[in-house]
Assembly symmetry: C2
Homo-oligomer: 663 residues x 2
């Protein structure tokens, strides 16, 4: 099994050469990490990683996460050399150029084998925690025959300094995710210089304190690396493998310094490096022996995949397993009956409670949901139906007590969604999207089906005050591309939003839910599914239409009240429930015009009502419309007092509308 | 000095009684923490904390930070009992009601003695790190006579689980901030239940691994608490004092459970608690002995303050010290000459470089700036002028290597700004505002003068790709109340923005700066200071005005190019540089109308150009205007290719304008 060391060295040098050359050609990039970790990566990919380059989507493959994403040439080299269809050598020649899948940082939507998008530090490691959670859970469902793989992470000092590292390893240590192994590129260098500039931490002791197994190795000694990896594999705790490396290893004058971190080495240094490591091939050429040694290293994975395929073919749960891994819902899944029952017997509940009610249905019908909360279970109402806790003793559970770790939770959910086979959802207060916004953005960029259950969505939460009251949050989340932000008005819309979110395979969703009770506004049994168009006419003007009230969530019932008052004054008013602006924007022109006709504001005044910033609402009210909102921080008081203070009453709003109509 | 234990017990019970009663009256709040930490807080405030209730703003007071802000009744009780003018008993009776300074969470702008706004967990502790940094720095400048105080933190398990905890203590441990002491309310309880639900961490070992001194005590044994505090005070490292407490201590049936965390105890349990702790006074009444014991505890602080006042009165640096602590700039401070020199000799530089040039001037003229970067010093260009590193060996330094800790940096800067005497600024990439957004929001809410130097502000950063390219960031930051977001177009505007930011004593600023070089657009020597109005006419139409181009930052020179093309076609076009929308919105109607006259779009078309989301630009272009932007994620390629791909060229924009004019 072990290859002659000299040939191993050349396999690793192939990574070094490709990394130097690609960064030089692009005149941009990070050669230091790929060169420093080339030896470790060679051992891992040749001897430990379970994967089949011919079938990158194989469900039971090991997951490899390059958390230090700036070292992207490491994974591009590994994928190419191992025989993945992409990247081709031409792709690598075009590293960091428009259209090449070899982007500056690895993007999961550009290349098979890139399990997640990395670059924002710490999040790769934190997503790997989610992958390891999904693996252990699916293992309990389908057994070792179908699910039995490891999660490997390459992380740098940056990943380990980021706060999310603390949350992620706390979770992994607590859940005893023994099949997760983090290879720490311990090179003592950050961008600004030596790590001693900014840290004095004993990282190994910290990991041990958090329940991890820790082992060290010389990252340039193959046997020592093997010994460390063997020990990590044998441990029943997650393992940190501290790989002492020299950044930019092979570059004779620059190695070991931050000069190799994020800039091309330059032609002279590359020439000197080639001489030092004995690499004679032309740029972007790989000697035949090296290439065949790399290709041979895929043999084990190929065999393992074939064996697995045999086990799958006559496995009793095959259909279910394949469906879940494909991300499809069961054909029988439907919330329609439940929604009809709500319409028949209207309920006045908070939408967070309505979410719990919907979840009871969902968790009953689907086995793949895995819920959780960042220590606000009773407030987010996320533990619904008959699900039990996912613990170190019972990976069959489907509810995760994430602790006070919003960012760690969001990243873990990204990892679960990308792993596949499960649909993660998790809650915190909406205002604390600020704690995990970087992960929400990555859900969107990675096209990951993650459902964020964000409750306490306005000043309506009351006494907790301005630190807890979202003002800019709903609107600012709406700006993130490929993210659905839904603010349902009642129990019916909440159930509809859940249905949409579950069916959106390539988009994450944020559900913005109220703390306070809301009357049910949807009582017409004809219209199950109205939320799917993003906005719809909830009430049609009786008198001649002069006003269109556009409201969301907890302000929809207020809009109805305003409309009624206006109608009493002979002013016809539509009410539009704008559940999700993004979905509305995707409707055809005809539907959008039908709902919000593009006529002179003197004829029909549009009014938005949302208990948050007015910024951005011009898009729907038009310039001359009226925007009811809050453009300052909130305050601490009972919710009713706050709605009064901030003008969210029909008494305050209706006169403004009439003034505007008369002005 | 030591008081009879029975009387100490009653002092602590006064906190318990007020906390139970206030939460009950509000029917909302968190009694568990104040009751659990009452004994520790009594020892600390009576015997250790250096403060003068009659002079809450005394510069050399100890800083007390209630990081577990939900336990706000603890600090309200302490302030009231110690004899601060506020809160009054009536304020406490109105806990969590509209208009009471006793808000749900402590707000620094509502009460003296509340050093910072807390509630978003972990940030109080992280701000305290900044306060401790400011203290040590000012100590080197003014000596022990004027600056010699401690920073005390009360933190719960939530604060310690949050990722920011890792960043904050890493920084504090590395910088050996020995005058910082964290009292950990080690009660084994979180909202969801026992801490064993979500964590298995050995917190003490983790703190030790990070360079902290750790000591434990029984949080209900006065002598043991004293012993621990003495040891903490004696240590030259920052100290974690693990106080083993019973949450809700005193409530016979609920103490030790999460039931006491965030809900009123109920009348029956309160009655039982009163009996258990022997508290016979009516609600909101304090027995005279207890009140006088509390008042007496302020004696030491009063004396210390008087002595300090004497030292200050004949101190040679008095004027300078008082000026800095008041937050005033020296009267001589001016960037005008520097700006005029730029206008005379225009420069083509990136605005991040222009920021460095401005900083060289600023750091030369001001002693109070303390800069830093989250490990991107060479990219953010934040180390400018003759400043040296702030290290454990040299607190006189004015540059902090924050490490890869964006959130920790932002919170530390909040703490520095709130401490006073220094003006913090710090940098990272703009996209990573997502990592510290919760702290940026707290800068704004707390009215803290923090200057965020956020570089690489668009797809113009090029090859690093979508994870590093801001799309929604500039706009979404503009939505945060009380935050100035500035995107300067060239070296002149950059210097003007710095000048504005430094003079804004009660508002934080985000500077969004380019990676790429930009031509200087301001070459008219008449107009130093134009940026202060938020927007101004950079170029006036020569032909009859049909178009107003509104651009920001790196797109201003593109707008000028478009205008030139339009003028060549006989279409008059103004160019407005919209440096800061918030400042523009604050101008009087006359100025705003002069710049952007409210006429029919058929007469004058408004066009916005910003390399970010178009969301929200309707406000300035009006509905029928044209919005040039990017409403998707970016891509990895050289900047020029990306601007081409995403349509940021005159060739792509001018025809759209002409079409619109003709349509």
């Amino acid at each position: 099994m072990s290859l002659d060391t000299a040939r191993m060295v050349q396999m690793a040098n192939a990574i070094r050469a490709l990394s130097m050359d690609a960064v030089q050609a692009a005149n941009s990039g990070h050669p230091g990490m790929p060169m420093g970790m080339a030896d470790v990566a060679t051992v891992l990919w040749r001897e430990y990683l379970k994967h089949d380059p011919a079938a990158p989507g194989w469900a039971d493959r090991d997951r490899f996460v390059l958390s230090a994403g700036h070292g992207s040439m490491l994974i591009y080299s590994l994928l190419h050399l191992s025989g993945y269809a992409h990247p081709t050598m031409n792709d690598i020649r075009n590293f960091r150029q428009l259209g090449s899948p070899c982007a500056g940082h690895p993007e999961n939507f550009l290349l098979d084998g890139v399990e997640c998008t990395t670059g924002p530090l710490g999040q790769g490691l934190a997503m790997a925690v989610g992958m390891a959670i999904a693996e252990r859970h699916l293992n309990t469902v389908y057994g070792d025959e179908l699910v039995d793989h490891r999660t490997w992470v390459v992380a740098g000092d940056g990943c380990l300094m980021e706060g999310i590292n603390h949350e992620a390893i706390g979770l992994a240590g607590h859940l005893k995710l023994g099949r997760m192994n983090v290879l720490w590129d311990d090179n003592h260098i950050t961008i600004d210089g030596g790590t001693e500039l900014s840290t004095s931490e004993n990282i190994k002791a910290r990991y041990e304190a958090t329940g991890w197994h820790v082992v060290s190795c010389d990252g340039h000694d193959f046997d020592d690396i093997r010994k460390a990896l063997d020990e990590a594999v044998a441990s029943d705790r997650p393992s940190l493998i501290a790989c002492r490396t020299v950044i930019g290893k092979g570059a004779p004058n620059k190695q070991g310094t931050s000069a190799t971190h994020g800039a091309p080495l330059g032609d002279d240094e590359i020439a000197a490096a080639r001489e030092l490591i004995g690499w004679e091939a032309e740029p972007f050429e790989i000697p035949e022996q090296v290439r065949s040694d790399w290709r041979d290293s895929a043999e084990n994975g190929l065999r393992a995949h074939r064996d697995w395929q045999n086990r799958l073919s006559d496995h009793g749960q095959r259909q279910d397993f394949e469906r879940r891994m494909a991300g499809d819902l069961p054909e029988t899944f439907s919330l329609d009956d439940y929604i009809r029952s709500l319409i028949e017997e209207p309920q006045k509940v908070a939408t967070r409670k309505a979410s719990e009610m919907a979840l009871a249905q969902i968790n009953g019908q689907l086995d793949e949901t895995i819920g959780g909360s960042a220590d606000l279970t009773g407030s987010n109402n996320t533990k619904a139906g008959n699900i039990t806790a996912f613990t170190a003793d019972d990976y069959a559970g489907r509810y995760i007590y994430y602790g006070i770790r919003e960012f760690g939770m969001a990243s873990a959910m990204n990892g679960m969604a990308l792993h596949g086979g499960v649909i993660p959802y998790g809650g915190t207060f909406l205002v604390f999207t600020d704690y995990c916004r970087a992960a929400i953005r990555l859900s969107a960029l990675q096209e990951a089906r993650v459902i964020y259950v964000m409750t306490h969505d306005s000043i309506g939460l009351g006494e907790d005050g301005p630190t807890h009251q979202p003002i800019e949050h709903v609107q600012s989340l709406r700006m993130i591309p490929n993210l659905l932000v839904m603010r349902p008005a009642d129990a019916v819309e909440t159930a509809e939003c859940w249905d949409i979110a579950l069916r959106e395979q390539d988009r994450p969703t944020v559900l913005a839910l109220s703390r306070q009770n809301l009357p049910q506004v949807r009582t017409d049994s004809g219209g199950v599914g109205m939320s799917s168009k993003g906005a719809y006419r909830l009430k049609q003007a009786s008198e001649q239409r002069r006003v269109i009230l556009i409201a969301t969530g907890s302000e929809v019932h207020l809009a109805l009240e305003c409309a009624q008052r206006l109608e009493e004054d002979g002013i016809g008013a539509d009410v539009v429930s704008m559940v999700c602006t993004q979905l509305f924007d995707e409707q055809d022109e005809g539907y959008r015009q039908e709902l919000l006709p593009d006529v002179d504001p003197d004829e029909i005044l549009r009014v938005s009502i949302e208990a948050g910033t007015t910024f951005g609402w011009d898009r729907y009210t038009m310039t001359n419309g009226l925007r009811i909102g809050i453009d300052r921080f909130g305050a601490s008081a009972p919710a009713g007092d706050l709605f009064e203070k901030f003008g969210f009453t029909a008494d305050a709003i209706v006169p403004q509308i009439i003034n505007k109509l008369n002005g």
